[in-house]
Amino acid sequence: MKSISELQKIREKVLSEVNLRQDRQDGIRIVVGMATCGIAAGARPVMQEFISEISKRNLLNVKVIQTGCIGMCRLEPIVEVYVPGQEKVTYVKMTPDKVARIVSEHIVNGKVVDEYTVGAQS
């Protein structure tokens, strides 16, 4: 190791990974419904798309979490986004190509993508 910046580089590279193990409640949580209904409706590719978007942008404070049935099976795949201090936002009938927009507008810039939410669809 010749310099501190080298150390910093390794640190940043790996931090996003070990960060997942902090028992913290303060980050943004993206919760994907992955019960049988969700998986059948295509929740898995949606989740994978979230994972790859987030790692591409190296967003350290975001976790992608799976959950069981959210209870509105006809609207699956369902994704809930929890931003600390704000009400949860529920996106329904998700597809992988909707993911990039949610990440850039909602997760990064804090603007909810209204047209994908449960309010707009039901």
Partner: protein, 598 residues
């Protein structure tokens, strides 16, 4: 870099490894591959989570689901349910993490076992993969070394340590900053840094767990020490009986060299430092600093008189800084977060935290780290989860064979160096053995003394012969042959051994006897005068008796007695011939009516 959405952490400490955690890792990898999840979910082997009684332990993040006593057959269910469908497998969760009456899963720091703990020395244990230096770096690893090398003078490091109030965790409690200053100021062209990982205290596994779970924290601190005192070579003295710790330490040193964090010209500052491991053969006396140094030099590990202290004349006759594993594990956090932060934790004269290996009659046996000043009651009743089987707390032994006991009436004593010394016990290196009403205190004293008799190196007479004679006196008492004069003799002999021995082993060997005599003299007297062992442990003193009112005369006891000491007629009370009885206790376990007592 790949992003894994979920991490499965499997404890790879010695406890969980021996209960089969490697099989779990293999099984997880197999099941994940079958489910096509191996690119999404990562399996990590970590160091000890602390709750060894419930191992093997698996934690799944990001949910933080804490699964305990996981078996190979359970792995598929965790993969199918939790990792594929996002449904936590409730039946495998550590019961304390589920809120009573509901299905809510609590976060780990709300669980009784962890709530009052504070992890500084153990901060990375159970969090990172100890065989991957990059994970250590991600947790701010090696930033303290970088800071010290580029921004601080040796004087500033020493000042920071002095202000932090850190004291040695190996048992002596000597102020660490002061020790570093002595080593720095000692004249000499060549100096050494050494780490004491001998950990001879029976039942203790603090240092072992740190080295197994976070070896770099010790390596980084030793490099900082090297810079501070002016040494370019360090030695870690570790017992060969710790194969996992030795292996991880080897890997860690290798990786640190590869990354240029050990070796020549570290961070381009011109500072050189390297480390070697020296294996000990597991003799308790080799934990004593002068014996340890002699042993590293390749001689028989025997103590020598001090002064000169190692800081002046140590390894190969050169000034040597020797600290304990846990002491080193605190250093980087002090540098990173500052002396003031560290000094704000703990009590006036004991700063920071202490790691204890909690064992004996306690529900949550395992590894705990508590802020100094936490009371023994909090450790036993809250963190430890109380005494199993509804028994009563009787005493706790700290400091192992060099320490003393804390009786139930002092359970509210705060755990810090000075409070423990003032009641005749000591902080020690971190062994904490809990005893309940079924433990005989004379027997406990005898147990520890037997250990020191075995471990005495034999160099000086008070220890070699004194401890043996002391042991014989205790044996006499537990056999019911003791007299009141023997108790006086014991007290006198204890003092001579303490005063006459060369090293700490002999000087502290009588402590378990003295402290049990101080708090449980009535038990000694019961053995001597009434010829009774109140706890019913000492075989020679326990007589088995049949209570005629309870005996239904079934004759089962007589059939089971191996020496035919029980006689009687069916449907009439039976009788035990105490002359013939060998006190094996079989009759008592067999009696269906609980009519036999000790």
């Amino acid at each position: 870099m790949e992003f894994y959405r979920s991490h499965v952490l499997v404890c790879g400490g010695t406890g969980c490894t021996s209960s089969g955690s490697q099989t779990l890792i293999d099984e997880f990898e197999k099941c994940l591959k079958e489910a096509n999840l191996d690119k999404e979910v990562k399996v990590v082997r970590t160091g000890c989570f602390g709750l060894c009684a419930l191992g093997p332990i698996v934690i799944v993040y990001p949910e933080g689901a804490f699964y305990s006593m996981v078996k190979k057959e359970d792995v598929k269910e965790i993969v199918d349910e939790h990792l594929i469908k996002g449904r936590i497998v409730k039946r495998l969760l550590y019961h304390d993490t589920v809120e009573a009456g509901t299905d809510n899963v609590k976060s780990l720091n709300q669980v009784d076992f962890y709530k009052k703990q504070m992890r500084i020395a153990l901060r990375n244990c159970g969090v990172i993969d100890p065989e991957n230096i990059e994970e250590y770096i991600a947790m701010d690893g090696y930033t303290a070394l970088a800071k010290v090398l580029t921004e601080m003078t040796p004087e500033q490091v020493i000042d920071e340590l002095k202000r932090s109030g850190l004291r040695g965790r190996g048992g002596g409690g000597f102020p660490t900053g002061l020790k570093w200053e002595f080593a720095k100021n000692a004249p000499g062209d060549k100096k050494y840094v050494a780490c004491n990982a001998d950990e001879g205290d029976p039942g203790a596994f603090m240092d072992r767990s740190i080295l197994e779970g976070d070896p770099h924290s010790v390596i980084e601190a030793m490099a900082i020490a090297g810079y501070t005192i002016g040494a370019d070579q360090g030695y870690i003295y570790i017992r060969a009986e710790y194969p996992i710790a030795v292996k991880r330490l080897r890997i860690a040193i290798e990786q640190a060299r590869e990354y240029g964090l050990l070796g020549k010209n570290i961070f381009g500052t011109g500072f050189n430092f390297d480390l070697d491991i020296r294996l000990g053969a597991g003799a308790f006396v080799c934990g004593e600093e002068t014996a340890l140094i002699t042993s590293i030099e390749g001689h028989r590990g025997e103590p020598r008189p001090r002064p000169p202290f190692p800081a002046v004349k140590g390894l190969f006759g050169k000034p040597t800084l020797l600290n304990n594993v846990e002491t080193y594990a605190n250093i980087t956090t002090i540098i990173n977060r500052g002396a003031d932060w560290f000094a704000s934790i703990g009590t006036e004269k004991s700063k920071g935290t202490k790691v204890f290996a909690l064992g004996g009659k306690i529900t949550n046996t395992g590894l705990v780290e508590i802020p100094m000043g936490t009371t023994l009651r909090e450790i036993v009743e809250e963190i430890g989860g109380g005494i199993p089987n509804g028994k009563k707390f009787k005493a706790a032994q700290t400091g192992g064979p060099s320490g003393g006991c804390i009786p139930a009436e002092l359970i509210d004593v705060p755990i810090d160096y000075d409070s423990l010394t003032s009641i005749g016990s000591m902080m020690g290196s971190g062994g904490l053995i809990i005893m309940d009403e079924d433990n005989c205190m004379v027997d406990i004293a005898k147990f520890f003394l037997e250990f020191t008799v075995d471990e005495s190196c034999g160099k000086c007479t008070p220890c070699r012969i004194g401890t043996k004679r002391l042991y014989e006196l205790l044996e006499k008492i537990t056999e019911g042959k003791g007299t009141l004069e023997d108790i006086d003799r014991i007290e006198k002999l204890c003092l001579s051994i303490k005063q006459g021995s060369l090293c700490g082993l002999g000087q502290t060997a009588p402590n378990p006897v003295l402290s049990t005599l101080r708090y449980f003299k009535d038990e000694y007297i019961a053995h001597v005068v009434d010829k009774k062992c109140p706890a019913g442990v000492c075989k020679a003193l326990s007589n088995y008796e049949i209570i005629p009112e309870k005996c239904r005369g079934c004759g089962i006891c007589a059939k089971n007695c191996p020496v035919g000491a029980i006689s009687g007629q069916v449907k009439n009370p039976y009788h035990i011939d105490t002359e013939k009885c060998i006190k094996c206790g079989v009759c008592m376990t067999k009696c269906p009516f609980k009519a036999i007592v000790k």
